[in-house]
């Protein structure tokens, strides 16, 4: 398999298990789940049993301790299912739990980590609001303290795992304007005053449940505040770094799958009496696609390796997200083109990859926001 510099034998063994599992239990059902717009809840538990769900989390909370590349392996192999939505929902814990693990008290970790890492409960992260997603510092959902509780009012939208989650890591305003008035609260689905929409109808990520959340005098125990009050912004920004790496990895696999599908197709499909692979225009296009996949993957791995070493990679991971999602935009677009009319048909994987890919340059911080971050740091 290779990339010896990044992946050890342990990583490759986990990869093999993950691949076997995806092949046996996900791939045979994935088209059906995509059309149904959901997948069985039991998949979380299965993923946990095998040790894929909680990769990178401490064993004492039921995780499978491993380094960042162990997580990369899990993300990659789940992404190879070809269903971005399934990967997004199964992986929503990777954006919901890290702030609890890093800033939570022991009691909070006991309450909010083990049942998620065992696949019994689903965790989601809720930052984006109907009024705006990019401007995190401007969020307007409020949490006002009354005795032992916060009274939360407002709404969140586009929340992955939003319909099925049992607990949400929610960004709220506890203080004044701007980034210094933001906190993180864990809000459980059964909390009075909490409600959620039906699944939102989307362009892609069909197997994922995306919802709008409503907080209407929602009473949340003070014990659910993660970290010190009004210090949530830093936790959110830190959390984004890993999410952006994850999105880059997913973009790379999405592009790789599209490329592989094309390489197989051009030898089978004929036009004007010869295989598509014989047309120089297409051959060169495939080279452009393959080059972008290769370069993007290597760069992303380098960023991951440096993140794993604890280096500040804010600039680099933002660049990785810009580059990898542009690469996957190009590759998935061209893949549909190479497949011709069939590429527009739902029966063909490239059709889904094209739709699923579109979110990657938007979610977890848009390309424009990535450029703002990089510009501030290099100018």
């Amino acid at each position: 398999m290779g990339f010896d510099r990044y992946f050890t034998d342990d990583h490759e063994l986990i990869r093999r298990t993950a691949r076997q599992w995806v092949a046996a239990e996900i791939l045979p059902n994935v088209d059906e789940w995509e059309e149904a717009g959901t997948f069985p809840r039991d998949l979380y538990r299965r993923a946990a049993e095998i040790g894929i769900l909680g990769v990178g989390y401490p064993a004492e909370y039921g995780g499978s301790p491993g380094d960042l590349f162990m997580q990369v392996v899990a993300w990659e192999e789940i992404a190879r299912s070809g269903s971005g939505g399934l990967g997004a929902s199964l992986g929503s814990l990777h954006i919901a739990l890290p702030p609890i693990l890093k800033f939570g008290t022991d009691e909070q970790k006991e309450r909010f980590l083990p049942s998620v890492l065992s696949g019994e409960r689903i965790a989601a992260l809720a930052v984006t609001e109907p009024g705006g997603g990019s401007d995190v510092a401007g969020l307007s959902t409020t949490a006002v303290r009354y005795g032992d509780e916060y009274l939360v009012n407002g709404a969140k939208t586009f929340i992955t795992s939003g319909c099925r989650a049992d607990q949400y890591t929610v960004a709220v305003r506890t203080g004044g304007e701007g980034h210094s008035g933001i906190s993180l609260l864990v809000i459980e689905a059964e909390t009075p005053g909490f409600s959620r929409s039906e699944p939102l109808k989307k362009m892609g990520w069909w197997a994922s449940d995306t919802a709008e959340l409503f907080f209407d005098d929602c009473r949340v125990p003070r014990a659910n505040l993660i970290g010190p009050e009004n210090m949530g912004f830093i936790a959110i920004m830190e959390n984004f770094q890993k999410e952006r790496l994850q999105m880059s990895i997913v973009a790379n696999i999405t592009a790789e799958l599209a490329l592989q599908a094309c390489l197989a197709y051009v030898t089978e499909r004929e036009a004007f009496g010869r295989p598509l692979a014989g047309f120089q225009v297409l051959r060169h296009k495939l080279v452009d696609m393959a080059t972008k996949v290769e370069v993007s993957r290597e760069y992303t791995y380098r960023v991951a390796a440096r993140m794993a070493e604890g280096e500040d990679q804010v600039t680099e991971v933002s660049m990785a997200k810009i580059f990898s999602t542009e690469a996957s935009d190009f590759v998935t677009h061209e893949a549909v083109q190479i497949f011709g009319g069939y590429g527009y048909m739902r029966e063909y994987l490239v059709e889904r990859l094209y739709r699923d890919n579109r979110i990657l340059s938007i979610g977890g911080g848009t390309t424009e926001i990535m450029k703002e971050i990089v510009a501030k740091r290099i100018l």
């Binding site: 398999m1 034998d9 342990d10 490759e12 063994l13 986990i14 093999r16 298990t17 076997q20 599992w21 049993e49 095998i50 040790g51 894929i52 990769v55 499978s64 491993g66």
Partner: protein, 253 residues
């Protein structure tokens, strides 16, 4: 019950195989995988071991490489592995392989030996029976189900063309299992980490009392001929008769 499972490490079937230009042997890469067929044998062994508080020892003859294939099987839950890795075994035929495996199994001691019916890469399908003969134990083949009888004997359902036969033997015995008999468990994350500290013994020919004799050489290797175009039968209402005649001619009906 002491169970020995024959497991073969093979080059990943998803990657193209390479032949050594001189010897024409398959180049065994450092990275090999557990032969998919042997996952079933390991699972059957683990279930029987769990039922009898027994042990499962993996026995394999191969260039050990980085042991990825063996670690996959250890991660499923086997207790230990014995590998015979000797450069002089390169190009071994099935009988030499059987002698080596039987030697290693004998050395470990056993009540039951489990093997696949046929490997994915070599697929002669004769090694297990040779092993049984060398160990001087009965061989129950093509098991689609393996269970313990009340008196500690091993009872199998042997797959046949028409259905299955029930066959039973006292231990010690060798059983070959077909793919799909059981749902093999995954080498879980925990299993993979635990496997790191399980014993893996690496032996040479001398340790198992075999002096290798290469009795086969590969003279030449030819690429598989390209598939020829099929014959098209026009259906003029009697097309079926022509197809039946053609099938009879090639003796498939």
């Amino acid at each position: 019950m002491r169970i020995a499972v024959c497991v073969k490490q093979i080059p990943d079937p998803a990657t193209p195989y390479e032949l050594d230009p001189d010897s024409h042997y398959v180049v065994r890469p450092n990275d090999q995988v557990l032969d998919d067929t042997d996952r079933y044998g390991v699972e059957v062994a683990l279930q029987l071991a769990e039922a009898t508080e027994g042990s499962v020892t993996l026995v394999s003859m191969s260039p050990s490489g980085n042991l990825q294939g063996i670690r996959q099987a250890l991660a499923m839950g086997a207790d230990k592995a014995v590998i015979v890795d000797d450069e002089s075994l390169r190009g071994s035929d099935s009988l030499t392989t059987a002698k080596v495996l039987a030697g290693a199994i004998q050395r470990e001691g056993f009540d039951l030996v489990i093997a696949g019916t046929e490997s994915t890469d070599g697929y002669t399908g004769v090694v297990p029976q040779q092993v049984a003969e060398l160990l001087d134990v009965p061989s129950l083949s093509f098991a689609k189900k393996v269970e313990l009888a009340e008196d500690g004997a091993v009872r199998i359902e042997r797959q046949t063309a028409a259905g299955y036969d029930v066959v039973q033997s006292a231990v010690p015995v060798l059983v070959t299992v077909t793919s799909g008999v059981v749902e093999p468990r995954y080498p879980t994350f925990k299993g993979i980490m635990q496997a790191k500290s399980k014993p893996v013994d690496t032996l040479g020919c001398g340790d198992v009392g075999v002096s290798p004799t290469t009795t086969q050489t590969i003279q030449a290797v030819e690429p598989v001929p390209a598939r020829e175009a099929g014959e098209i039968v026009e259906d003029d209402g009697e097309g079926y008769a022509k197809i039946v005649a053609m099938l009879e001619q090639v003796k498939v009906i």
